[in-house]
Symmetry: C2
Subunit: 185 residues, 2 copies
Amino acid sequence: MSTPDRLIESTRELLWERGYVGTSPRAIQQRAGAGQGSMYHHFSGKPDLALAAIGRTAGEMRAGVEEILSGPGTAAERVSAYLRREREVLRGCPIGRLTQDPEVMADPMLRGPVEETFAWLRDRLAAVLAEGRERGETGAGLDPAATASAVVAVLQGGYVLARAAASPEPFHQAVDGLLALLSRS
Amino acid sequence: MSTPDRLIESTRELLWERGYVGTSPRAIQQRAGAGQGSMYHHFSGKPDLALAAIGRTAGEMRAGVEEILSGPGTAAERVSAYLRREREVLRGCPIGRLTQDPEVMADPMLRGPVEETFAWLRDRLAAVLAEGRERGETGAGLDPAATASAVVAVLQGGYVLARAAASPEPFHQAVDGLLALLSRS
DNA sequence: GTCTATACGCGGATAGAC
DNA sequence: GTCTATCCGCGTATAGAC
């Protein structure tokens, strides 16, 4: 991997683990095995690196979600597959966690990808749910947008519960609880 | 308000806005209008202050929730009232946000109240849901613990969506989506 | 109780040599 | 491209005077 790539990857990990405020250029360099001068040669500073890291993470996330949601199966099956997808629950969501970072939210450059990713995700899920409803598969009286937001919220909130409990269990409980409700509609 | 009280209050606000890692003793002192020496006279340091602040926030939160959940109405009405309760959506949950802070999670003293608060909340909601089920009011085939986790997760995740969108709308959408599902069960 | 002085390392970067 | 030197202010205290 090239030095810029290693720097971006190490920034991605640190942003995930410690957030933007908790991540220092020093720590990025050390984890990447790169020197001070090298880092500032390839990137203009911490915000620039963070932008590259967030963009890459957001892109991967979208691709992964799209693969499931555009895959085979009924709408309910695909939403269910998305909810039950394997996750590193205790690490939380690398994009969602940025939402808690005041410096990320204050910078339009950094905030943009976060906002877009969630807007896209909710829209995409709503489209799948609307499709299922039109086909008469499920959820006759449900508002696709509201249901989609609930689905995403259960995941994001599930991470919070899991970290609070230091256990993945509440995450899976929350998903099961939502899935039980969805399956009756 | 006494100086220690002002210090605790200012720590509470800063923890809410900026998290533990993003909150400095200096900032606490300035917001409280207290000097360096004064702060270290009353508290042993940042962790000590944070402990007092988190304890106070957790206590208030439990009291507020308990008032709604032990109030009048059917189980479904009380859960609904809890979900629809007025909230400063864009500020997020002052306890939930601590979950993202590696230094809070790494310190058992600070972590304790966070863990307990969510454990209590899920239990308390599950008890209300179980009560409703026994009375035949609602949710005949639902697992109270799973449903309770989903309820809490929707709130915590709703905050994430709202902050990502810089708008309370997705929070309320998620709550509506969950409530619609609950009302059919 | 509160203030001021002092300390030491880190955060975040720039400059210039190699 | 990468390294080392240097900078300045902040983070997080401790010490001791008032």
